[in-house]
Symmetry: D2
Subunit: 280 residues, 4 copies
């Protein structure tokens, strides 16, 4: 049987604007439509950041998150994940503000950034206090943290503060983010170093930034992992060609995955594979 690769779509993010790509979805309806198309193309997880539905600016308004999730859930049975990190550098949110939508809206999963770093020119602060707080809260409400890993040190942070700290046992779901200035540089060599430092039995995906999205994501799939695509990390379909939709990026990933003898995982297969805390 072919290996099943879990594709996550991240259609909004907090950094790209409609100037970067006019197809960026902003309203709940747009987000739901993009998500459904991505789901139909092979995505089994959606990762969401909220946007002001009028201005398109990143927002922490819980009402927007509520509308997004309601619309997405009506549109398709995809696994839902929301950020706890995005507003930190763009909106200057406090740790409590960053996690509030998760606590109220109960997505299947939420990101948990696993250390402090420079994110471009900005400080992205995720001290052990914050990591522990988020992990405890998510565990209480059965929301799977996805540990966002921007460098080798962060894998150890998770092991030390979360596992040895007795907050949450493995297996964990990790995202390896390659290509943010301030994080590990994007290369197959560095991806391999991350994979080789990952505890056995955990699941992981590759988030390649910009032009690295597809090449590093596909390499991740060949190495036994999963990948994320979408406008949050990359708005181009190919060099100089804007993607017309997030679904186009999912389709592209699926085409290559199939050429390499693998298949996109269904939502059901992804639910079986990921260490979700709300499994039924």
């Amino acid at each position: 049987m072919s290996r099943k690769v879990i594709i996550t779509v991240a259609p909004t993010g907090s950094i790209p604007t409609r100037k970067d790509n006019p197809a960026l979805p902003i309203t709940a309806e747009e987000v739901a439509l993009e998500t459904r198309r991505s789901y139909e193309a092979g995505a089994s997880v959606v990762h969401l950041h909220a946007r002001n539905p009028v201005t398109g600016e990143p927002t922490s308004d819980i009402k927007v998150y509520r509308d997004y999730l309601a619309a997405v859930r009506s549109a398709c049975p995809i696994i839902t994940q929301i950020t706890t990190g995005g507003g930190a550098t763009t909106l200057g949110l406090s740790p409590e503000e960053r996690v509030r939508p998760v606590l109220e809206l109960l997505p299947d999963s939420a990101s948990l950034n696993s250390g402090s770093m420079n994110f471009g020119r900005k400080l992205f602060s995720n001290t052990p206090d914050v990591m522990e707080l988020y992990a405890r809260r998510m565990k209480e409400i059965n929301v799977m943290p996805e540990f966002e890993i921007y460098d080798l040190s962060m894998l150890q942070n998770v092991d030390y503060w979360i596992r040895q700290g007795g907050i949450l046992d493995p297996p964990y779901q990790f995202s390896f983010v390659l290509g943010v200035m301030g994080g590990i540089p994007p290369s197959i060599k560095n991806l391999l170093a991350l994979v080789e430092s990952t505890p056995a039995g955990c699941t992981w995906q590759v988030i390649g930034i910009g032009r690295h999205q597809i090449p590093l994501g596909i390499t991740g799939a060949m190495l036994g992992g999963n990948l994320r695509v979408g406008f949050e990390d990359n708005v181009f379909l190919s060099k100089g060609v804007l993607a017309k939709s997030n679904a186009e990026l999912v389709e592209k990933a699926v085409r290559i995955i199939r050429e390499l003898g693998m298949e996109a995982a269904s939502v059901e297969e992804a639910r079986d594979t990921l260490p979700l805390l709300n499994k039924r």
Copy 2:
């Protein structure tokens, strides 16, 4: 001819106390004596953090730095380096406060921490603003920055903000710090990853924390680099046995280096090798 290994001694630091090791030097006289002994044992660079000469607490008092440097310079011709990082987590200093002793006292070199991270449970903030500020100032006064690297991302930070930013050209001097919780985990594999990501022509040393000081430092020497020893990073001579002095740690490093067919560099040899900005 044998390869010459540059040994840096870091006798004080900001974390260990006399409870950790009663031989910790605190007064200018003690620091100078430890430095001279270390120099005689084979160290060619001293890295200094100031301590309140009465209480032993870390301090940013420029008078203390002045006294330390004066005493050290009287005691021996060792290459001098002071921190710009130590007070950030222990004293809550501002970036301006952290660099002031460098600007006034003109050591040969000063540390330049190359990214933000968790340092244990504390946030250690070193944004591009801070990195650029320090590099510019040091360049103006011919003080060599030693770029402190706590993970792979930080090597890229230096390349991007300092080199591509046009502030200071390579070759650079790097320190690879392995073993701080929040930084890259201490292993030969991770050290090799750092070394392989280092730009050609640069010099580098290994700072192994705690029991990793000697093994990783020696591995660094075998890989063509240099090493730092001293109480700042490790107070033990061997398991359960406190070092009686910083010089004892230098002596140990020198013994092993010689067994492996290398020699400790003299101050002159170190001056020739390091990319000092105040070379004569």
Copy 3:
């Protein structure tokens, strides 16, 4: 401009039979037709082993090589390469017999196996005597050796016997063969180790055996190298599906390469890139 990837097609080999894939070309006409189709699909180099045109058995008959090359050259302007290794394990040829077709027929290139090993259960002997002999002869007649590398040791063999031996200067063209039992195991990690051990300025391609042909070949392209496809190494288009022709494999490689933002090199571009000895 997109990176150009040189695709070599190896349509015959010495191991697969028409039982393995009925589309295996055997006669000069079949070989030329397969080569032309592959060329049209994007291959710029052909690597040939001779087959008895009646029985399909591997042969060292120089007449067959002559017919193959004449037919191929009539069919398309592809770069030509013939083996000096194939008959060693299958036909028990002597070193002199293995190289004779090269000396007489003057292809653009010929393989030069760079060390001894087990090839499956058979001994594949390529001692320094043989390596030196082949390199000297090929240099005299301006035929580019392609150094076949089956493990890390073989890269050093080339450096030591050929370069330090003063026979032929770099840059060299290497093939990294991954997946033969007796050679380096097929993995991205091992491919990376080979790439990182390759002298600067040299060109290289990946020969992944069996189901590794496309995944490792594509990884090679992402790492800055080239790839070989064809029945010699793999007769399947995808799991359980036989390729209908060698060109189908070239087409598949080209599709994936394009998805990843690269293009197949033309023959002219390949001639410019490869360290051919008969460049005009």
Copy 4:
């Protein structure tokens, strides 16, 4: 408790002569004396090649092996190992001749070379037939094979022909030989690649050739493995200084190991750790 490092001494080998080092032991008495001194210095295993006691030439004379083993066993309780490889390139022995002393004399262990290669300019042939033959015979008589690994491919050879072939189950004892021309080049990077490719639960040692003996052996100890020293692989104590005895090399290894916080394993500890087949 300190980690215990198993030190093997290889006092004779088949390549060095008394011209290379006049202290080379040749007679049974000399070999036993060197072995006892090495044992007293910290060696727990001896690896033997026979020499004509008059001329010093390598020999396959079983009488010499018998005398060596008897003398060594009288001299100290060290674990005994004899070669099955040495005569292949120097004496042109057949596979049957190479293994005969093992079958008759029942040492604790014997080397089993795990693939074919160039050994310098000579062909060193170890096809699957030979590997299987030796493994079967050694298993029958409870002699532990030590699988000699000269490159990454050979680790797979053992897995495929011996383990998957159903001849002998892991855990295995491996030797990683770095520095023979024709084998994997000697570097920490390459050693790490070997270690990372080793099946879990197996034991291994480093055989660094020439000036790599101590540095790579010590690196192996830091990586969790063991090391071999002795005239077979290296006759120098340090650059330009001949070792006065094999024991001097053992002493040097022990000194460094201790500086690094480890200890030499006793014979008893080595017996407990190694996957010997004649354990009592």
